[in-house]
Amino acid sequence: MANEDACGPATPVLSIRNLAISLPYGGDRLNAVQEISFDVLPGKIVCLLGESGSGKSVIANAVMGLLSPGLLPTTGSIRLQGRELIGTPEAELRKLRGPSMAMVFQEPMTALNPVVTCGEQIGEMLSQHVRMGRAARRQATLDIMRRVHLPDPERIYASYPHQLSGGQRQRIVIAIALILKPALLICDEPTTALDVTTQAEILELIRELQTQNNTAVLFITHDFGVVAEIADQVAVLELGHMIEQGDKHEVLTRPRQPYTRMLLDAVPELSLRKRQPLPEADPLLLARKLSKAYATGSWPLGQRLVHALQDASVSVRPRETVGIVGESGSGKSTLARCIARLIEPTSGDIEANGRSVAHLRGRQLSPFRRDVQVIFQDPYRSLNPRQTVGSSIVEGPINFGVPRAQAWSRAEELMGLVRLRPEVLSRYPSEFSGGQRQRISIARALACEPKLLIADEAVSALDVSVQAQILALLEEIQRLTSIGILFITHDLRVASQICDRVIVMHQGRIVEEGLVSDVFFAPREDYTKRLLAAAPGRDFSFARSTEAAQDPVYPKSQHVRVRGATDSKGFTV
């Protein structure tokens, strides 16, 4: 890194110089990454930060020698403890993986073998690289399980991955990676698939073990909160170029590059935002004591009821954004799907327009369907790949009896609202990026002129910069149409920025409910407090440009990287 003098003469564990990796012919750019140079010193954590497609994982895989066929390092060098890795034969690399370098992957369930016990999977690392007896191996395995703070190691030793929770599985993966005390640990988004409270524990664990062993860590993430929490040094990647690197505080508080500044501005703050007071009005929708139970098992073992949702009550008024936050399995999506009547609640009542809709079926639901629309999480699956964008958007209005021509002209107007060109209507979803698809999904939902929009993790799968735009778009739409929004998210920062009221859910029940200012800044329940404490990087103040600080959700145009020219109407070409 640049500040070698500050770190003394310590020799770097990993040293990458001028690395370029080419993409196969027909890729969206010539090189996956190029001109990459950085060092990882012993006992330091270097974070590679970048949005999806920036080439972070390619670098990690190149170090481990796990590049997919077709990707080849063309120039540069990767040195691990002074030894050149590029060109090293596979057999040699295999000897290094484990004792010298190890990797922790994003999804622990797929990183572990489902038919081998966890203990054996950890022990396999020892039997591959170290000569030791069976009993000694078992002892070493149990020791490392204790060190990664797994409860009851004896039991977990004999457990299969599916019997453990996500956090426990990730601990096993970390144990496998660290049992041979490698000099370099590569973590590729190790906490992205985990809940926020689990994430905090895993980050703490990585920090702790890294300090004990003086391990060098290359940590890959797209999450600024995680970076603030764990990094010593940060390197920012933009489309395969390393545009900025340096000390964590330097990069996060005094970014030099406009791209870094734009990313930082787009990071939603966990802070109270002034929202206009809402006029008193009758709720658009009132859900009372909703419950949903699923039956599992059958005769002769007997049925068991799983309560996904218990006694949840929600109301949304016009112009109001109600957030539902909680970890995975907390029942927030079940609540949303009940309210959207995609599933029928087991008990409870939903009232919309003075009419109870909780147990209506088929055609009876038509008037309700028009009023309530849903935006889904995965932008890649929420649009029919075999239907043009236009026919997806006009489908709803035509179902509700709007004449075809009128529906199409309305669709063109909506394209303007979601900042896409009207020509888009004749294209297929595969031609668009995730953010653009999410805009199309929003247009589809708005085409029916609903009164309530349910956004089920609508921005969770998007990069921060795109996420900020979609949030801004939703607010804008709310301002123009006085629509009510039910916003489901696991991200407390996002919730604090967009919501008027929030509902905290845990294990199928509502734990706490109230204004953002009360729930997030004066929480009463223990669970809410724990959730808030776990939000990564919550005490870190990121650099923000002055205008952005007043209105953090909007990316300001001067910081926005506009790849195409903008014409007079503000459409991007």
């Binding site: 929420s382 790949p385 489908e395 900042r419 926005v560 506009v562 195409g564």
Partner: protein, 312 residues
């Protein structure tokens, strides 16, 4: 949308550059298995269509005087009416003096018709069964158990008994071969539908109040077509084989009809002396089935959603 000025404060960062990706047709055509299989199959189909102009004579006409000629013999063919036609017996003749080349080409008509018709019939019926079973949970159990029952019947045995009962017409042979294929197609369609109905775009369509028939037709069916087309090629290949087997056993189409199975059955008794009677129709049969299967493999490589799930 009135407040355009207000809206222009939001700058869309992402440019609208459609990711250039070769069209589906282009990808399919550029696959070598598709080119090879499709090419050979195309030549066979053309040969069958233009059989009368490809140096053939009436495939059912007999001339006992020129029986068991070896391949490549040039001679005269005396028809039943006494007309003498000079003819080049490219593939020789059978014991009754029928021209093998003519019979094989006309036989291709029967085989390809049977293959395509069976594939179509099995696909259409299997699709209907699979769609209903996959989308409507209530009748799924009953329909699929019936399908399991059909699957338990040995295909050839079923065809033999059906033809024995109702006579060996082309239609009956097609039905007899298609029925046992239906459960396989239905299972495939059902499994595809089961996963498609959980897709968010199907849920979105439900939220948009789209009627169920429209969801099936517009959102489920088009996304289930690719695996169906692939399955269709395999059904087609197996149908051609089964038809040949039935004819060979003498329980398919009537013996006087020129089909590859019939030609082989006819030549079987003197295979030792005159192997060409069995060899040439056998080559046609193998070539056809192989090309259909190669075509199917190529289509699977290019169309199968497993290979291009994210990019589709």
């Amino acid at each position: 949308m009135a407040d355009a000025r207000l809206l222009s404060s939001l700058v869309a960062v992402e440019p609208l550059v459609p990711r250039r990706r070769p069209s589906l047709l282009r990808r399919v055509i550029s696959n070598w298995s598709v080119r090879l299989g499709g090419g050979v199959l195309g030549v066979l189909i053309l040969a069958a269509l233009f059989a009368p102009w490809l140096g053939t004579i009436d495939p059912t006409a007999m001339d006992p005087g020129s029986g068991n000629l070896l391949p490549g013999t040039r001679g005269d063919f005396t028809s039943f009416d006494g007309d003498v036609i000079p003819h080049w017996f490219i593939m020789g003749t059978d014991s009754l003096g029928r021209d093998i080349w003519s019979r094989a080409l006309y036989g291709a008509r029967v085989s390809i018709t049977v293959g395509i018709a069976v594939a179509m019939l099995a696909l259409v019926l299997g699709l209907c069964v699979g769609l209903t079973a996959g989308y409507f949970r209530r009748i799924d159990g009953i329909v699929m158990r019936v399908m399991d029952g059909v699957m338990a019947i040995p295909a050839i045995l079923f065809a033999v008994s059906l033809v024995a009962l109702f006579g060996g017409t082309l239609l009956m042979v097609i039905v007899a071969i298609a029925v046992p294929e239906i459960p396989r197609v239905a299972r495939l369609v059902r499994s595809v539908v089961l996963s498609l109905r959980e897709e968010p775009y199907v849920e979105a369509a439900i939220a948009l109040d789209t009627p169920t028939w429209k969801i099936l037709l517009r959102h489920i069916l088009p996304n289930a077509i690719a695996p169906l087309v692939i399955q269709g090629t395999y059904v087609c290949a197996s149908a051609i084989l089964v038809e040949a087997i039935l004819s060979f056993l003498g329980v398919g189409l009537p013996a006087e009809m020129p089909t590859w199975g019939n030609i082989m059955a006819e030549g079987r008794s003197q295979f030792n002396q005159f192997p060409h009677n069995v060899l040439f129709p056998g080559i046609f049969l193998a070539l056809t089935v192989l090309s259909v299967n190669v075509l199917g493999d190529g289509l699977r490589d290019t169309l199968d959603p497993k290979f291009n799930k994210r990019t589709e």
